[in-house]
């Protein structure tokens, strides 16, 4: 009997090595440990053993059963692992197939730049305000210290409506409208469309401007410089240099044109900047006392500054589109680039 048990142990261990499936494992288990299994049969012979043999063989039988039970358990676990492995392998996919991405739209490039500009000024406490695009001579020119016959009107090729109104040539009229309705302090930016009779590779008859205005009891030219330098560093990068050149606008005094160091050559001089190292980006200045008088502010009691910039111009410093009329064709191949 001892021999039989030892033979079973050897046989089973041998057989387990050949097992590949759970089914085979189960039939092997039944072959030896089922009700008519070989081990069960051997154990039925236990009763015939002598008293002396019984505990010895009983112990041996338990050892065999226990070790084979462990062997079965191990084989089962191995089979489970193998099976899962196979299943996962079968479930493999081609991960290079495209993801199911929601189709995304894109904001118009001019709007992207406009939005960035708004964000920068809002961080400095400027409120976004808008105003009408159809304007009167009064708001577009007169109240901005540009009376009829002023040569500065030549610089604005104006679209007139048949009813005598005009399309604003800049966003500056909104300065007047805001100051008429609000007491200082005023700290606003005015994004919006403006119009001039101009149509070539660098001009569109409609364009976007951002106007800024800060009025308070004591606002200085040096603060104008501070706000614009801060804007330029955020918009064009921390190394951006800024240059203020005296200029003329009827509604500011002193007035300045403002250049930034060329974004292409970093100020060394190249074709984009006409070899000067500088690129003009905006006009600015201290609010002219006549403008304050037009809105019933007392120029001895308040001072302020204003600035205005062309959004297309700033956008194109980055995009370098040879014909800016492309902005308004709304060709999807163009819009998708930004």
């Amino acid at each position: 009997m001892k021999e039989e048990l030892e033979a079973i142990q050897t046989e089973v261990l041998q057989a387990l090595k050949q097992i590949n499936t759970q089914d085979q494992l189960e039939s092997l288990r039944i072959e030896y440990f089922g009700r008519k299994g070989k081990f069960t049969d051997v154990m039925k012979g236990m009763g015939k053993l002598s008293k002396e043999e019984r505990p010895i063989l009983g112990k041996l039988a338990n050892e065999v059963r226990s070790s084979l039970s462990d062997a079965f358990e191990t084989a089962k676990t191995e089979l489970d692992c193998k099976q899962q492995e196979q299943q996962l392998k079968a479930e493999s996919i081609d991960i290079t197939l495209p993801g199911r991405k929601p189709t995304l739209g894109k904001a118009h490039p001019v709007m992207q730049v406009l939005q960035r500009t708004e964000e920068i000024f809002m961080q400095m406490g400027f409120q976004v305000v808008t105003g009408p695009e159809v304007e009167t001579e009064h708001y577009n020119f007169d109240a901005l210290n540009t009376p009829p016959n002023h040569p500065a009107r030549d610089l604005h090729d104006t679209f007139y409506l048949t009813d005598g109104h005009l399309l604003r040539t800049h966003t500056s009229p909104v300065q007047i409208r805001v100051m008429e309705n609000q007491q200082p302090p005023v700290r606003i930016i005015v994004p919006g469309k403006a119009y001039r009779v101009d149509y070539d590779v660098s001009h569109t008859p409609m364009f976007h401007q951002v106007e800024g205005l800060l009025v308070d009891r004591h606002v200085t030219f040096s603060e104008l410089k501070g706000v614009l330098v801060s804007f330029a560093r955020q918009m064009f990068g921390a190394q951006t240099q800024m240059r203020f050149r005296p200029h003329f606008f009827p509604f500011t005094e002193p007035s300045a044109e403002v250049d930034i160091s060329c974004t292409v050559c970093q100020g060394k001089g190249c074709r984009s900047c006409g070899h000067t190292g500088w690129i003009e980006i905006l006009g600015a200045g201290a609010v002219d006392p006549e403008v304050f008088r037009a809105v019933n502010y007392d120029p001895e009691q308040v001072t302020g500054f204003a600035f205005g910039m062309g959004v297309e111009r700033i956008a194109n410093l980055q995009f370098r589109i040879p014909d800016i009329r492309t902005f308004y064709e709304n060709d999807l191949r163009f819009l998708h680039q930004f």
């Binding site: 495209p98 501070g226 330098v229 240059r243 002193p254 201290a286």
Partner: protein
């Protein structure tokens, strides 16, 4: 305006190179736009003299020249020009020269004879297209001098942009004054010495001003027996270098003095003036004049003219008359120097469509005190360069003489405005360099001060040429620009940040834009102007107020001649443009104001057409339909927090009559959407359906409420019941929903339509609608029985009201 470096040096000393000068002027506000070196390609070209000529032994058409270029050894140069002759002075390109054409001059053998340079034509030097023969130079030139120097080409032209407020800078002396502000060097005014004859000018002419408001000053001189002819080279060269056409010595001189002083002058042929006298007056009704450009022009009574005893002979300050102009036969010249009122000149020039050097300066403001110096300077040059004798004296009629402007300047105000800490003495120095008169005014109750301090007050006298300076702030700008904007400190605002007022329209616009972008639509921006036929193209009904669009008086083209009252035509144009370029996945939106009568409401509009989606495996292209556009509109409303709206079919001709809707909020239309009518598609040449919407953003902003409050999360479970009913095919699917809500009351949490079926399973003319109803109570757990009873009630009600059959 152009100036040259050497010319400028006639009026002030400075050591700046062209680039430095350009930088300084630009930072003073006189922007230098370009810098151009004259005669750059002439390095190595010198003045040479042909001292002998021999025939070339091996070539009939060539000769061997011995050329003197001012050195000990004469050069042998082989030459083939037809006009070469003994004693000729001509330009010589010496060995090592690279001509502008790229030709490099080296020692060569031509047909066996050595040649040490090249005698040049104007064409070869790039001076003119003339290639007929060698350029013949004046025999007076010193042999061996570089050609650039000999021709006055060793100079640099600066192109200046003068802002409209600075007419005083429209001259070389004006620019020299700016250089003085920078350097402090004194101006060098032209030395004027006049030899007058005994003929008194008063005896032979007179000037009458009938319109002193428009002509505050008019002065004249007469020069007799001039010889009209070509100007000397130096004068021609000067004018040409700054881009002024050379005409004859008299006219050239007036232009030269114009450039020097900024004072426009005009020369009349004295004998062609009727009664030899001048009357400054307004034109009479019906008068005409033929101007120098030989156009006959109509004059109106608001135009100032210079007339003789009988008729106009010049349009004052704008252009002279053809009849009295200087010609080769002119003997005696009446020279005009005057000051005209800027607005009068501006109106006349504008009406006539003329913009001349003279009108440009007068309309910006000339200097009345410049009239006599410029007149004398021109008289002197005419006497020198055109011969002639100068009559004694000047006729100077000056009815409009004005006292200089006086301004009080507070140095403390300068620093207040600029944010600087300038000393009063610095301010004083800057202003005095600019030519301002400065006097310190004693403050009451103060001791006599030795030097100005920040508390001093200056009394400033404005020089007559600074027409732009009338106020204290103008003086502050002068201080700022000369002190240097770059020297002003850079600080951040110290003032309080104003209270920001939230703006609902801005927020609605932002939310809808973000939603549309994440829905896969691209943002478009179109011009505000459209073709007036666009209303016809989108089939707006005759009485639609949107047709009443604002018109431009001066449109660029018919395509851009009226202001749009709706965004839809612009987006259809964009669809057409893209389709024409074989791009057919059209999903575009635009957010903009439109123009409706005197209002500018804000709109959002969108279009879906062709194939939408990415067109990749997993997200293939699909044709949009009505429910895509409706879903977009519903999403836009949702992001604005608007729920209480309704859709209703309309008869808007823009759309398919059975596939459109208006969006109603409080039974007011706030938007419209639908499938474009086939004729609209045809008008925009679109071969596929297009779905459009347009919403009124102002109405949305008015209805929205972004304030959010917490609602209790349901404690008791919801119970779901599905329901399928068969109804008439034409019935709207939202009718049962209304009935379910009204019947179930508070216990109906939500109703969703989840299926619509038409086909074999239901009778002809019928459809099946399937809904999921969630029942829920806020106060207890609903029992099955309670739900069943309620659900049965709902079914009965649907049957009664809509004749709906329960589908099993």
């Amino acid at each position: 305006m152009n100036i040259t470096l050497n010319w400028l040096k006639n009026y002030i000393d400075f050591d700046f190179a062209a680039e430095q000068l350009a930088e300084k002027l630009t930072m003073l506000g006189v922007e230098v736009e370009t810098i151009k070196q004259l005669g750059v390609a002439l390095d190595g070209v010198v003045v040479g003299k042909v001292i002998s000529i021999k025939p070339h032994p091996n070539a009939d058409k060539l000769v061997l020249c011995q050329v003197d270029i001012g050195k000990k050894d004469k050069l042998q140069i082989v030459c083939g020009a037809p006009n070469v002759h003994d004693g000729m002075v001509a330009p010589v390109a010496t060995i090592g020269t690279e001509l502008h054409s790229g030709v490099f001059i080296k020692k060569t053998k031509i047909r066996g004879e050595e040649s040490y340079g090249m005698l040049c034509s104007e064409n070869e030097l790039g001076i003119s297209p003339d290639a007929a023969g060698l350029m013949e130079l004046s025999p007076e030139l010193s042999i061996g001098t570089p050609l650039t120097e000999a021709l006055g080409l060793d100079d640099t032209v600066l192109e200046l942009e003068i802002t409209p407020n600075r007419p005083d800078c429209l001259s070389l002396i004006g620019v020299a004054r700016e250089v003085r502000a920078e350097t402090g060097n004194e101006l060098k005014h032209p030395q004027i010495e006049l030899n007058e004859s005994d003929t008194e000018i008063q005896d032979i002419t007179s000037v009458t001003i009938d319109a002193p408001e428009l002509c505050p000053r008019y002065a004249a001189r007469i020069i007799k027996d001039v010889k009209v002819g070509e100007s000397p080279d130096w004068l021609k060269q000067r004018l040409e270098s700054v881009g002024i056409a050379v005409i004859n010595n008299i006219v050239d001189i007036t232009n030269y003095v114009l450039m020097e002083y900024g004072q426009p002058l005009h020369a009349f042929d004295y004998h062609k003036l009727n009664e030899n006298r001048i009357v400054v007056r307004c034109a009479a009704e019906g008068e005409r004049i033929t101007t120098l450009d030989e156009y006959e022009r109509k004059l109106t009574p608001d135009m100032l003219v210079i007339a003789d005893a009988e008729k106009p002979v010049a349009v004052a300050g704008v252009m002279g008359g053809h009849e009295t102009e200087i010609t080769d036969s002119t003997r005696d010249v009446l020279l005009e120097s005057a000051y005209f009122s800027p607005s009068s000149i501006r109106t006349t020039a504008k009406t006539m469509g003329l913009n001349t050097e003279a009108s440009y300066r007068f309309e910006r403001g000339a200097d009345p005190e410049n009239v006599i110096p410029a007149l004398n300077r021109a008289a002197q040059l005419i006497a020198e360069l055109a011969g002639g004798t100068l009559c004694k004296g000047i006729v100077d009629v000056y009815p409009g003489k004005r006292e200089p402007i006086q301004i009080t300047l507070r140095p403390e105000r300068v620093n207040f405005i600029l944010g600087t800490e300038l000393e009063a003495t610095e301010i004083e120095q800057i202003l005095s360099r600019l030519g301002f008169g400065i006097e310190m005014v004693q403050q009451e109750g103060r001791d006599q001060e030795v030097a100005p301090t920040e508390d001093s007050v200056f009394q400033i006298t404005v020089p007559s040429f600074r027409v732009d300076i009338t106020r204290e702030i103008d003086l502050i700008e002068e201080v700022a620009r000369v002190y240097g904007y770059d020297n002003i400190p850079t600080t951040l605002p110290k003032g309080d940040i104003p209270v920001l007022v939230p703006n609902k329209l801005t927020e609605v616009r932002r939310r809808i834009k973000n939603f549309l972008l994440s829905s896969g639509m691209m943002e478009a921006i179109n011009y505000s102007f459209v073709h007036p036929n666009c209303f016809e193209k989108i089939r707006l009904s005759e009485d639609n107020p949107l047709r009443d669009a604002l018109k431009l008086q001066n449109p660029l083209s018919p395509e851009m001649s009226v202001l749009r009252s709706t965004l839809i035509p612009s987006l259809l144009n964009n669809a057409q443009h893209n389709h024409n370029h074989q791009i057919n996945n059209i999903a575009l939106f635009e957010i903009s104001t439109v123009f409706v009568q005197d209002k500018e409401p804000a709109r959002v509009s969108g279009i879906l057409a062709g194939e939408i989606g990415d067109g990749v495996y997993g997200n293939p292209y699909k044709h949009p339909d009505f429910f895509d556009i409706k879903g977009i509109v519903e999403g836009a409303l949702e992001v604005c927090g608007i729920t209480d709206y309704a859709f209703k079919l309309t008869d808007e001709p823009t759309f398919h009559p059975g596939r459109n809707a208006e969006l109603l909020l409080d039974s007011k239309r706030i938007g419209i959407l639908g499938e474009a009518h086939p004729e609209v598609l045809e008008n925009y040449e679109l071969p596929y359906k297009a779905y459009l919407f347009e919403l009124d953003l102002n109405a949305l902003a008015g209805a929205t409420d972004f304030a959010k409050r917490f609602k209790l999360i349901p404690i008791y479970p919801s119970i779901q019941r599905d329901l399928a009913i068969v109804v008439d095919k034409e019935m709207q699917s939202d009718l049962p929903i209304d009935i379910i809500y009204s019947t179930g009351g508070k216990l109906v949490e939500s109703v969703k339509l989840f299926d619509v079926y038409v086909g074999d399973q239901v009778a002809e003319g019928k459809k099946s609608l399937a809904y999921t109803i969630m029942y829920h109570s806020a106060t207890e757990t609903l029992t099955d029985k309670a739900v069943n009873d309620l659900h049965d009630k709902v079914i009965r009600k649907l049957n009664q009201e809509l004749n709906a059959e329960l589908r099993m």
